[in-house]
Symmetry: C2
Subunit: 443 residues, 2 copies
């Protein structure tokens, strides 16, 4: 596409933001009254609160309660323009990005494209594993797991039955740990009511972690406690273990053991999702853009990167900040301020990360948290951790409506021990093959 896309020229500097995740959205909001035109480009028309994605996948929250349309969030912000489009490449010399709806000129370009799952080159794994990076993934996982339980009713063979009911989660970070906990709650409270015909002792949940501890970025206390919680809840945790291969049915572990499962959830690693067109030298081995303390991409003056796609080496974080919401939000916020300063011919301020702490929830009354207060780290667990985690996540949601919706759902789930969103919407998994069905002869 050769021409410029149709968008108003406001006669002021244009900031083009690619990606409306935590960083991109915070930047767009923080530029509200700045003397710039803000153009946000995203492949979706909504912002998603992905830390709760695993709850959508496990029927605890409905998809709508963790997303909010960009146009609604930024209603009334006059300098804001949204375009639903895909960015294909950057031409920094012309100051133009090529998108699926035409070329777009920028004065300042901000890349906030986040990450994508990293299968470390294992094509078989990439084809067969289930990822959990966006809403479509979460709905697909929900459809798959519920379809498997429906199909399991027709299976007599014990191994095939186990392939339907067993789950293997790869990666012992927050996503893996929280997913394992949520599946365990489904097994304990929801599925026995829904499937009295099934023997749920057959449902195994395996969590495979390559290193010696779970939640490795957190304190030793949190790691140990999360392991204890998961084991109490009947999750089989494999430490110092890797998945060597997965063909969609058989899981081969580095210990030589084999598991059988049609649902392997990949929560093991991510890699940056850069855009084509910048100098290859700006991209580090992690596929993240090398940025300086102002989030400027190495070698560029008016191209910035924030959040997961940016790697800023600092004294405390020589390999870059953790790829979670807080650094992205803080970088987005500061960059808005820095763009204002630049336009006012003032020097930019360097970024400094304020770590507020980390939390993960494993189940009802079971959570772990390392909280930073007055410069000191505190550990909370159990009931208090769980309440704290719930509070922090509700408050972090983007709209009051999302907060209300999640609060009501959680209160409901808590009281009834139910997870009500057990729908198979859209295409269910492929039906069983005839030879897999257990049928009795019709005499």
């Amino acid at each position: 596409m050769e021409g410029l896309t149709k968008i108003a020229d406001l006669g002021m500097p244009r900031v083009v933001i690619v990606g409306g995740g935590f960083g991109g959205l915070e930047l767009a909001k923080s530029l509200a009254d700045a003397p710039v035109q803000v153009v946000l480009i995203d492949k979706q028309n909504y912002h998603g609160f992905w830390p709760l994605l695993y709850q959508v996948a496990t029927a605890g929250l409905n998809p709508d309660s963790i997303i909010s349309p960009f146009r609604k969030i930024l209603n009334g912000q006059e300098n804001f323009f949204f375009r639903l489009a895909e960015v294909k490449s950057i031409d920094a010399s012309e100051q133009v990005v090529e998108t699926s709806i035409g070329l777009l000129r920028y004065d300042y370009l901000v890349l906030a494209t986040g990450t994508t799952s990293n299968f470390f080159g294992d094509e078989l794994m990439a084809r067969n594993a289930i990822t959990l990076k966006n809403l479509t993934d979460a709905i697909a996982l929900r459809n798959t797991l519920l379809s498997h339980f429906e199909q399991a009713l027709q299976i007599g063979d014990v191994e095939k039955l186990n392939s339907m009911l067993d789950f293997v989660i790869v990666g012992g970070g927050p996503t893996g740990v929280e997913m394992a906990g949520a599946l365990s709650e489904l097994r304990a409270h929801v599925f026995p009511r829904d499937y009295p015909e099934l023997d749920l002792k057959q449902m195994d949940i395996h969590l495979v972690q390559s290193g010696p501890v779970l939640l490795k970025g957190m304190s030793a206390e949190a790691s140990a406690k999360s392991l204890q919680y998961l084991q109490e809840m009947g999750v089989q945790v494999w430490l110092d273990c890797r998945v060597k291969s997965y063909d969609g049915y058989t899981v081969t572990l580095s210990t030589g053991e084999h598991l059988v499962s049609r649902t392997l959830i990949w929560a093991a690693g991510v890699t940056g999702a850069p855009v084509a067109g910048l100098e290859p030298s700006a991209l580090l081995k992690s596929n993240r853009y090398q940025v300086n303390e102002f989030n400027q991409v190495a070698g560029y003056d008016n191209v910035f990167a924030i959040g997961d796609i940016a790697q800023m080496a600092t004294k405390d974080y020589p390999d870059g900040h953790p790829q979670v919401a807080q650094p992205a939000i803080q970088q987005g916020h500061l960059l808005a301020e820095n763009l204002r300063r630049r336009l006012a011919k003032k020097p930019m301020e360097p970024f400094e990360y304020h770590d507020k702490g980390t939390m993960a929830t494993i189940g009802r009354h079971r959570a772990v948290g390392d909280i930073m207060l007055f410069g000191k780290q505190f550990h909370i667990t159990g009931w208090l951790g769980w309440l704290g985690w719930s509070f922090v996540h509700i408050m972090a949601l983007v709209s009051f409506r999302n907060r209300l919706s999640v609060f009501v759902a959680w209160a409901w789930n808590y009281i009834t021990q139910d997870k009500g969103m057990r729908y198979i919407i859209g295409k269910p998994k492929a039906p069983l093959k005839e030879q897999e069905l257990e049928v009795k002869p019709l005499v």
Copy 2:
């Protein structure tokens, strides 16, 4: 598939219900303590409250708030079994239904398969029109209309712009009237905030009705009032007019006029969705099964049909009952009673329809209702009709959770005049072709 599907034989008569709509669900629930095994087969794992489907399609309600999983609704009913499957045919001599998961024996078979859209043989229309029969349809329509508005931002040509922004609804029954009203509210309150870049005067809503009145099953008062409301809200109503053809872009009317729209919503007619295998003579011209006053399909003793798929000729309804929720629910309820009576060797009771009235809502404070009270028909309109409609629909929802969710959404929409569920989830419509995009040369 030749063998019997895997399901427990409880050693008591088995009632197989095909379809969990209003009639099938009511029957299954009403058989709670009866000495029978109840097997419900449905293509979806949830019951849907389709009278509110148009609100999902127009972003007023989220999809989850009008559906409920069968397993959750019937949790704890010990004689109830659910199977997610498609029924392919009936072998009445062997008392067996063939399904996608094997054969299933029945002692009593109840067909509650409802209807499907009727295009009267117009293949071009069937290919290009949008229907609104299930949740997938509603989500697809929501995705389509929102994508069109996003794409419209890139269009310069006035006719092409109109093809994106204009809507043609075929059929002036409740679905058509309610849909026209909902679109008109989006135009008045939601889209101006979301799309300040678009000239919404270009957005036209056409409602095409073949007969001389809207809502033809209702009173003359209700018909006249609904027309007045729609016209006040700026909907262009075409009475005594038909759509002759539609190629996905140009709409040709029977009056010779042409409209241009990429979104034609078909709400003009339905036809029965019977199952293969019964005697062709049992099927009437409407594709509905001919049933007697006990809902027995003509020529069969232990095969029943209820709801939209059943046509029972009575003195008041020589062409069968209206194809709405109430007759289905009442027939399901009575059939449960009659099956109990039969097993107790008592004679069955004939069905008698108790018409409670009909309502339709057009917009905020604008609704019409013909209510039956003490054997007399009362007409309500305006604010009172709107409140009554809202109350009746909330109370008719299947679970408390659905009721709460719809109530909160409506209260919110009412206060903010907003419809918040403006998400494009899943595949958006195909992107614009290059030649349709308005682009300016890059100089």
